[in-house]
Amino acid sequence: MKAGLYLHIPFCAAKCAYCSFDSIPAEKNSPAIRGYFEALNREIELSPGGEAGSVYFGGGTPSFAGAELLCGTLEVLREKYALPQGIEITVEVNPGTAEKGFFGKMKAAGVNRISLGMQSGEDKVLKYLGRIHSNSETEKCFKEAREAGFANINLDLMYGIPGQSLEDIEREAAHILGLAPEHVSGYCLSIDEGTGFYKRLKQGEIDEVPDELASDMYYLLKDRFSSRYSHYELSNFAVPGKEAVHNQIYWNYNDYLGFGAGAASKSGPERFSNENDPFKYMELIKRNDSAILFKEKLTEETQIKETVFLGLRLLCGIDLAGWKTRFGKDFLFLFGKQVETLSELGLLELKDGYLRLTREGLFLSNEVFVEFV
C-alpha cells in the first residue's frame, strides 16, 4: 500500500490571532529551525521506507524554513522512499515568507503543488487576522509560483471572521475566481481556546459571526465556486482532476506516515502520533530515535466509525458496495435506523449505492456524524 507522507514544519514568522496549532514563532535561519530539520531528517531515515503515494509539507509555515532545508528533507525522503514520477508533492507557502528564487528551487526539487495561505483578499481582514502579509504580497507570490511553472495551486480562504458581511464574502469569491487557482480550501473561522481571538471574545471585545450568517457565507461560496470548481469535500473545491491527492488519503481512510512534531500516522489498524512540542520532539528524537507519544490500536468498531465520518466529508459520499468489501458487513444492516432518521431530517441521502450528505447536511455535518460514533 502506498502511504501518504506528511512532514510537519511548525515554525512561523508570527502567531496569527486565530491559530490554535502548536506552531511557534521563530527567527528565520535560526539554529532552532536547523536543529528541528536535523531531527526531522533523522526520523525519516529511521522510518521503514517504501513507496509513497503523495508528499505534503505542512505547518506552521514550511516556506518560512526556506528552500534549502525543504529540498534537503526531500532528498532524505527520496533516499528512503520511492517517489514515483508525477506523484503529488505539496508545499504550504505563506505570502511574505518565500525568499527570492524559492519557487524555482521547489519546482526543480520535484514539488508540483503549492498551497498558498491567502486567507483573505482584503488588507484590513489580513491585519485583523494577524497575518504578516498584504494582498499585493499574496498576488505577487501567486504570480511567482505561476511563473516558476506551478500548474496546481491551492488558495486557503477563511470566512466567518468577526465583522465580515455577506458582501465581503461575495468580493472574496470574485477575487479568487479572478486569480483562478486550481484548488480552493474554504475554512470557517473557529475561535478556539488559547488563541488571541478567544481572549478577546471572552473579554467581550469581539462577537462571533452568527450561525445563520456563517451558513449563508458557506453556501454563497459553494454556489459561486460551482462555476469553475467541483465541490468535492466539505471545505474543498477543485478543478476536476486537481483534487488534493494527499488529503483524500485521510478521507478515504488509507495509510499515511507523519514526520515531525505532532504529526500523526496510520498504518493499517494502528495509529500513532508524535510529541506536539517541537523542542521536546527534537529532544526525544535525539534521545530515543522516536518521538511517538500516543499509539492507538484501531478496533474494527473504531474503524467503522471513522470511515463514516471521514467518508461522508466527501461530497460523492460513501460507496456502500466498497464499504462492504472493506468490512464484510452491510452498512444499512448496521446503520439502517440512523440513515432513516437522518434522511427524514433531510441531512442524508442514499442514491445509486452511495450515501452522502445533502446540501443542507453539509454545514450540519456533525449532526450526522455523531449518530455514527
Binding site: C188, L234, Y256, K266, L345, N366, E367
Partner: protein
C-alpha cells in the same frame, strides 16, 4: 453500671463551626482511638458527608475518661445531624442526653442554627456548656462570641475557649462535662422504656438501632415491642460503639447503645419511637414522637428509559438507610417512567440526588422541587397533591392551601434592608426583629415553603455576602391564590415543566421561564416554539431558531483520533439530554424555574 459515673452528652453547633472536629479530638483525648489512626472526622462515615462537611446520621460512641478527681467515668458522646432539614432527628438525639456542648465559631459568632439548636436543647432540659471554638484562627474574636453568649443568658466565665483543630481546651471541656452535666436518672425496676434516636443499615447485620434506655433494662434474647409502630422483634445483640462495635450483656437505665434484632429496613424503626418489652410492656410510650413527613418533592427520571430498574434498586438501597426518603413510581408523558420522591428539605434532596449520580452512576433528570399542596375541590373533598402536573382543573378547585414555615434569619444589621426585601418578594409575613447583640439581628418571617424551594438560600447568601444564616420550622397549611402554569414545547405540553405559582407572579414567572428555556434548549433541526400557559391561555412565547451550523470546517492533517473524540463528546452531551417528542431537552431545562429571581 454505676449511673452516677455516666455522662450522656452531645455536641450542637451551626454548620461548619467545628462540631465533627471537636468530636474527633474528644475521641482522641479519651484514647478511643490512637491519633495516628485518626482519619479526620471519623464519625462521618460517608465520603460525601466528609466532603460536604456535614453529618447526616447521628451515632453514639462510648468513651472511658479518667478524670482529674481520680475517678473513671463513662461518656456517651452522641453526634447530632447538623442541618435544618433534620430538626426532628436532632431533637430526638437531644432527648437521649443530659447535656450538650454548644459550639460557636470564634470568628462567626452565634448563627441561626446555634440559636435553633440551643432552643431545642433547652426544651430537652439539657445542661449546656458553651464552647468557643477555632480560637487559633487569625480572624477569631472570642470576646465578641462570648458577649453574644452572655446575651443568650450564659455567664462570661462559663464559656470554654477552645481550638479543636489544635487540641486547645479539650481537657477543660471534658472536666466541665463531669461537673455540669448531671448523671442520668436510673430507674432500673420500671418496665423498659428506651428512646430510639437513630438507626443505620448494615449489609451484614441488618438495621442497627441506636437508643437511650430511660427506664428498665434490655438484654440479648429479649422480645421487644416498638410502641408506636407495634412491630415486635427479638434482640440478637445489644452493645456499645467504642467506636468499634462491642456487644454487652445488657444495657440499663441511663445508658446509650445499640441493638440488632434482625430488622430488614430502617423504615420499620421510627426515630422517636419507644422500645419496651413485649412480655412486660410499659404503660405509655415516651412523649414527643412525630411521624416525619416529607415536605419537598421532585421527580427523578432516568435519561435512558431502560435504566428505570437501576434507579429503583438505587432508591431501594438508599431507603435502607434513610427512613425519611419516600418514593413512589410515577409516569410523565414527557419523561416516561420515573419516581416522585419526597424529602425532608432541599439539602436532603440534593444529597440523595448526588448519591444517585455519584454512587450509582445513574444519568437522570431531576425535575424542579415543589411542596405538597392541599386542594379542596368543589365536591368538598380534600386532596394532597405533590406534583404540579397533577393539580386538578382550575374549574374544579374551591381552594388551594400551601405549607408555611417560620423562618429565622440572623445577620449583621447592614443587611436587614435587602433581606427583608427578599422575604417580602417571597410573599413573607413579617413577624419581628430582635437584636441578639449590637451587631447580630434576628428577623422572623412566615414564608410559603414553595417560595423557599425556589432560589431562596442562594439569594440569601449572595445578598448578605454569606453573612446571613437561616433556620426554619414548619407551621401550617394556608390558603393561597395559586395557579398552575404549563409549559408547551413545540406545541406539546411538557408535564415535567409545569409549576404552581402565586397569581400575582404568574405572568412574570411565565415570561422569565420561557426566556430562560430559549437560552437553555439547544437549537434543533427545526424552529421550536416555547409557550407558557395558564389553562388554555398563553401568557408568554419565545421561539428557538433552527440549527444552522454544526461542522468541523477545518480538517487539517491526520489527527483523526482527536476529531473522533470531539464527535464522541458531542454524542455524550446528546445522550445526557432527554428526548421529549422530537426535542432534546437538557437537565438544566427542568431546573430553569429555580434560576428566576423575584
Amino acid at each position: 453500671m454505676d449511673a452516677s459515673r455516666v455522662r450522656n452528652f452531645c455536641i450542637i453547633a451551626h454548620i461548619d463551626h467545628g462540631k465533627s472536629t471537636l468530636a474527633d479530638r474528644i475521641l482522641e483525648q479519651t484514647h478511643a482511638i490512637a491519633s495516628r489512626n485518626m482519619k479526620a472526622q471519623l464519625l462521618d462515615s460517608m465520603d460525601l458527608e466528609r466532603e460536604r462537611g456535614i453529618t447526616i446520621k447521628a451515632k453514639a460512641v462510648r468513651l472511658n475518661y479518667h478524670a482529674k478527681d481520680g475517678s473513671d467515668y463513662v461518656f456517651n458522646l452522641i453526634d447530632t445531624p447538623g442541618h435544618v432539614d433534620f430538626t426532628y432527628e436532632v431533637s430526638k438525639t437531644l432527648y437521649a442526653a443530659e447535656g450538650a456542648l454548644l459550639v460557636v465559631d470564634a470568628s462567626q459568632g452565634v448563627e441561626a442554627q446555634t440559636l435553633a439548636n440551643l432552643h431545642l436543647a433547652l426544651d430537652a432540659n439539657l445542661s449546656i456548656i458553651p464552647v468557643i471554638n477555632k480560637i487559633d484562627l487569625p480572624s477569631a474574636q472570642p470576646e465578641k462570641a462570648q458577649e453574644q453568649l452572655v446575651e443568650l443568658g450564659f455567664l462570661p466565665e462559663e464559656s470554654i475557649l477552645a481550638s479543636a483543630k489544635e487540641g486547645i481546651g479539650i481537657q477543660e471541656i471534658l472536666e466541665a462535662v463531669i461537673k455540669k452535666v448531671p448523671p442520668p436518672k436510673s430507674d432500673q425496676a420500671a418496665p423498659l422504656r428506651a428512646l430510639v434516636f437513630d438507626s443505620v443499615y448494615d449489609v451484614y447485620r441488618g438495621v442497627i438501632v441506636f437508643f437511650r434506655v430511660k427506664e428498665g433494662a434490655i438484654k440479648k434474647g429479649d422480645r421487644i415491642l416498638m410502641m408506636r409502630t407495634a412491630n415486635e422483634f427479638e434482640v440478637l445483640e445489644v452493645g456499645v460503639f467504642t467506636p468499634e462495635m462491642q456487644p454487652a450483656d445488657s444495657l440499663s437505665a441511663g445508658e446509650v447503645g445499640y441493638l440488632i434484632a434482625n430488622i430488614k429496613n430502617v423504615s420499620e424503626v421510627k426515630v422517636g419511637d419507644t422500645v419496651t418489652l413485649a412480655t412486660n410492656p410499659a404503660a405509655e410510650p415516651l412523649p414527643g414522637y412525630k411521624e416525619v413527613k416529607p415536605m419537598v418533592f421532585c421527580g427523578f427520571y432516568p435519561v435512558i428509559p431502560n435504566e428505570y430498574g437501576i434507579l429503583k434498586d438505587a432508591l431501594d438501597r438508599l431507603k435502607l438507610n434513610d427512613a425519611a426518603l419516600l418514593f413512589e413510581p410515577e409516569s410523565s408523558s414527557a419523561l416516561g417512567f420515573g419516581y416522585r420522591c419526597g424529602f425532608l428539605g432541599l439539602l436532603h434532596m440534593e444529597i440523595i440526588q448526588e448519591r444517585l449520580e455519584r454512587e450509582y452512576n445513574i444519568d437522570m433528570i431531576a425535575t424542579s422541587p415543589n411542596v405538597r399542596f392541599r386542594v379542596l375541590n368543589n365536591a368538598g373533598e380534600e386532596l394532597e397533591v405533590d406534583n404540579p402536573a397533577k393539580l386538578p382543573d382550575p374549574g374544579s378547585i374551591q381552594k388551594i392551601l400551601e405549607p408555611f414555615i417560620k423562618a429565622q434569619i440572623i445577620m449583621p444589621p447592614d443587611f436587614i434592608g435587602p433581606i427583608m426585601e427578599l422575604c417580602q418578594g417571597k410573599r413573607g409575613i413579617y413577624k419581628n426583629t430582635q437584636y441578639v447583640t449590637a451587631n447580630r439581628v434576628l428577623i422572623s418571617y412566615e414564608l410559603p415553603l414553595s417560595e423557599v424551594v425556589f432560589d431562596f438560600y442562594d439569594r440569601l447568601k449572595s445578598l448578605s455576602k454569606g453573612y446571613a444564616s437561616f433556620d426554619y420550622e414548619y407551621l401550617d397549611f394556608r390558603e393561597s391564590d395559586l395557579v398552575k402554569m404549563d409549559i408547551l414545547v413545540a406545541g406539546e405540553p411538557v408535564d415535567a415543566l409545569s409549576f404552581v405559582v402565586h397569581k400575582d407572579k404568574a405572568y412574570y414567572k411565565g415570561r422569565e421561564l420561557v426566556t430562560k428555556l430559549r437560552e437553555i434548549i439547544p437549537r434543533q433541526m427545526f424552529e421550536v416554539a416555547i409557550q407558557a400557559s395558564i389553562g388554555s391561555k398563553i401568557v408568554a412565547r419565545e421561539t428557538i431558531a433552527p440549527l444552522r451550523k454544526n461542522v468541523i470546517a477545518k480538517c487539517y492533517g491526520g489527527d483523526i483520533t482527536r476529531k473522533r473524540k470531539l464527535l464522541e463528546k458531542q454524542k455524550e452531551g446528546k445522550k445526557r439530554m432527554k428526548k421529549v417528542g422530537k426535542i432534546d431537552l437538557p437537565q438544566e431545562a427542568f431546573l430553569a424555574i429555580l434560576k428566576i429571581t423575584d
